[in-house]
Amino acid sequence: MLEIEALSRLQIGPINLRVANGEVIAITGPSGSGKSLLLRAIADLDPNEGQVKTQSGARAALPAPEWRRKVAYLPAESGWWAEHVADHFQLPDLADTPSLGISPEAMGWEVIRLSSGERQRLAFLRLLEHEPEVLLLDEPTAPLDAENTLLFEARLKRCIAKGVSVIIVTHDRAQANRIADRHFELADGKLIEAAHV
């Protein structure tokens, strides 16, 4: 569960939104409308105002690192701080790479050799290690082909089945139709619910 109350950041807001356990919200909007800014604000990566909470408690009551482990943000372009893929995982041996169409040997690879699609999927896997309650996904399948997009969505559905709440920013209306329960458009800093998908 994710509850957002009067969240604002720069030109965005105030945003009110409630995402139930296992619910998926899709957000679309023209580029520059602040979709990434909104996700970053929920994850508390930028200064922002408003209250956000999950079943574990209010954001303001939790240390920021703990909040971010529960409310996990997958940026459109992932960051890597070490040379090898395995260094970015807590338990590299347990990472389920084949479920996303990546070779089990990927843990031994150098980050610099990864394609953008591999980076994206591996960044998603390392995020799941913390068993987040909420996933904030920013164009997660943009660098993926159709086949890997479906694998990604199947993996995502396993999380949803466990009760994870999801906000997904996507340009792909067909994807929004496939996985989202509700659909919003971000325009002029406000979230407007689109016709039910």
Partner: protein, 267 residues
Amino acid sequence: MSEYVQLSYFDIALASVFLLLNGVLSLWLRLGIARSLAFAMVRMVVQLLLVGMLLKSLFAIQSPWLTLLVALFMASFAAREIWARQERRLKGWRGLAIGGSAMAASVGMVALVALIVLVQPAPWWSPRYALPLLGMIMGNAMTGISLSLDTLHTALNREQRAIEAQLILGANKWRAMRPFLRQAMRAGMMPSINGMAAVGVVSLPGMMTGQILSGVDPNEAVKYQLLVMFLIAGATGLAVVLATLGSAKALSDDRDRLRLDRLRKHR
């Protein structure tokens, strides 16, 4: 100090002949540095003559307050220099204050200990000892801090994605910034470490050479040089750590965010 050979202003003028020759060469080869060479030379002459006169009268007056005033003037100039040498600076008062106060704290502490406990001139604040010591320590701390902060700010800016990737996964700000803090501190300490390694073999330090030229026994000159280099390296290390941690704190906040919005690019 009996063998001290006094120089006349004529000797000095003669010594500049080689530099003037450089100027002629620059004009002839169209290197385009004749102007800046001439400007730097005139500036050096004026500054040094002025500082000579200033020091002479300061030594004659022997006022603690005047000595303190000169020390403060040096410190504020160095603080401004630290600020100016960074490509990306912290916005607002912090930009000047963090580097400046790290320098003032470490240099001040080390210089005080040096004067009161080690060299013990009478009085301890005697400008003849205090100002040259302060100048040497401060100059090196200044270089160290500006290198550190420049390195830190460039690295944090360039590695924003990698740092935030760690924050996203639940690392705190210190953990996420750690490699760049290390890198910045190393950069600031490098000149001191290299200086210690090369001294005596590759380079004879100007201070020691100056003392030897003015008739001091080489063993005594070496002792002073060792003292000064210990103080320099110690103060620089301390200053570099303080400034790096201070700046990293200013570039993050209590919600463990990276705050690059507090940085501004120059040049």
